[in-house]
């Protein structure tokens, strides 16, 4: 009986001693915490995706509190998060708008072909290194799903040889953009507008042979647009989202049907 008492006393005593030392140490060596940073951290979604370019949400919160970063870099948090953060910081939210990723390729199996059969590692990064990728179009989607595996939100899927983003699920975290070896995924504003779903910069005659839905750089869209929103650069059209009014003139004008309404 006595032994048990001593044992209990010993453990309790050492526990108390350690607790005492720790509490004294935490008072003496207290580090003033940045209240602003903690509030911001609460407002952030906590996904730690790294889309803002900082090491996780706490890194971004600290940078925001010190005034080293702009609010609105948080892609998963979106507009609501930007507003909340701006309120804490006491600055205006600006014209931040929700965004989402889009795959600029319509090279499905009906529209384009493969140069040869690819039997290697099921990864776009590996396939792109062999003979410039075995898709007929050297700019198009390889269709092996690196983006699909990179997406934490199950928002992008390869179907019929080409990747497609499901808008509702996408949070514009840019992970697929960084993963794609072809660089054909782009983050665009979530708004009603026209969108060129092709990234081919070959000359028109070449493109026409490769894919039935490829931009041939004919400039019909450029001429059709009254707002100066469509420009053909290096044989591939591009719609500037800020200028587009969603009038549909370019969509109608496109002979290859590679310009579509986004929403």
């Amino acid at each position: 009986m006595n032994g048990i008492l001593i044992a209990v006393g010993l453990v309790a005593g050492i526990g108390l001693l350690i607790g005492l030392i720790l509490s004294i140490a935490s008072i003496i060596m207290a580090v003033p915490k940045d209240e602003k940073a903690e509030k911001i951290l609460e407002a952030l979604p906590g996904a730690n995706c790294g889309a803002c370019g900082f090491s996780g949400c706490s890194g971004y919160a600290n940078a925001l509190a010190k005034g080293e970063a702009e609010p609105g870099l948080c892609a998963p948090g979106g507009l609501a998060c930007t507003k909340e953060v701006s309120e804490i910081l006491g600055v205006s939210a600006g014209n931040a708008e929700p965004k989402e990723a889009v795959v600029k390729c319509m090279g499905s199996l009906e529209n384009t072909t493969y140069k040869a059969e690819y039997l290697g590692l099921k990864s776009c990064a590996a396939a792109a290194k062999i003979g410039g990728g075995l898709t007929a179009c050297t700019f198009g989607c390889l269709g092996l799903g690196d983006c699909e595996r990179a997406c934490p939100y199950d928002a992008i899927h390869v179907n019929n040889g080409v990747a497609y983003v499901t808008g509702d699920k996408c949070r514009a975290c840019t992970l697929c953009v960084k993963t794609c070896p072809r660089g054909i995924i782009e983050i665009v504003p979530k708004k009603d507008m026209a969108l060129v779903r092709c990234s081919n910069h070959d000359k028109g005659a070449v493109t026409r042979k490769l894919c039935t839905a490829g931009c041939i750089g004919c400039k019909k869209c450029e001429k059709a647009c009254e707002h100066g929103a469509v420009k053909v650069v290096d044989f591939c059209a591009y719609v500037t989202p800020e200028l587009c009014t969603n009038c549909g003139a370019c969509v109608e004008a496109c002979p290859q049907n590679c310009i579509t309404f986004f929403k």
Binding site: G3, L10, V11, I14, G15, I18, L22, M29, L121
Partner: protein
């Protein structure tokens, strides 16, 4: 004789009695944090630091408090308590005085609190203390053993980070992808460490 035995204890802790690969302690961080080389090194540095510090505190407590009172059976409970408190204290001190080190260690320091490799180092070294045999561990031996164990942890982690780097680009059968192939690789690395058996036995009569 003393220096020779210290060197032998140090080498034994790294090679023949590697805590990860021969005693199978600390497998969790071994599998969890060995994906990248820099995090593996950071984790190992933190583990080494805590191992030496924990041994420095627990060894005298065992020898001069528990043994005279006949309370040796309390070592598990007390050592966990002491290591947890110690890591907390180190964290507070680092945050105040060396914030850069605190930031780079980050989450690893609290993770070590309940690491079985640390507990293993502090407890197994006590079994080596035997006043009746010709060779017994002293306080110095215990500290060197803890430091060696930490370095051994580092060696295992860095080696395995390299192995995993190669696994990334290997064409692995679907059913073995992920953890299964990692465990197979860990087993092979562990087997290779068996080759060190008997390496330092001649230097000291480990008994």
């Amino acid at each position: 004789m003393l220096i020779k035995s210290l060197v032998a204890v140090f080498l034994a802790a790294i090679l023949t009695e590697n805590y990860v690969l021969s005693k199978f302690l600390g497998i969790c961080p071994f599998l969890g944090v060995s994906k990248k080389l820099n995090t593996a090194v950071g984790m190992s540095a933190a583990v080494t630091f805590v191992m030496v510090l924990a041994t420095a505190v627990t060894f005298p407590i065992y020898m001069y408090v528990l043994v005279p009172m006949g309370m040796e059976y309390l070592q598990t409970v007390l050592f966990i308590l002491i290591i947890a408190g110690l890591v907390q204290l180190v964290e507070i001190i680092l945050r105040k005085y060396i914030p850069s080190l605190y930031n780079s260690l980050g989450i690893y320091l609290p993770l070590i609190t309940t690491n079985c490799a640390v507990l293993g180092v502090t407890m197994l070294v006590i079994q080596k203390v035997d006043s009746t045999s010709a060779f017994t561990y002293t306080y110095g031996h215990a500290l060197i053993n803890a430091f060696g164990a930490g370095i051994g942890f580092l060696v295992a982690m860095v080696m395995f980070a390299g192995v995993r780097g190669r696994l990334e680009s290997a064409d692995i059968p679907k059913s073995l992808k992920g953890l299964p192939i990692t465990l197979v690789a860990a087993a092979l690395v562990s087997l290779s460490f068996l080759g060190f058996a008997g390496f330092v036995d001649k230097l000291i009569p480990l008994g």
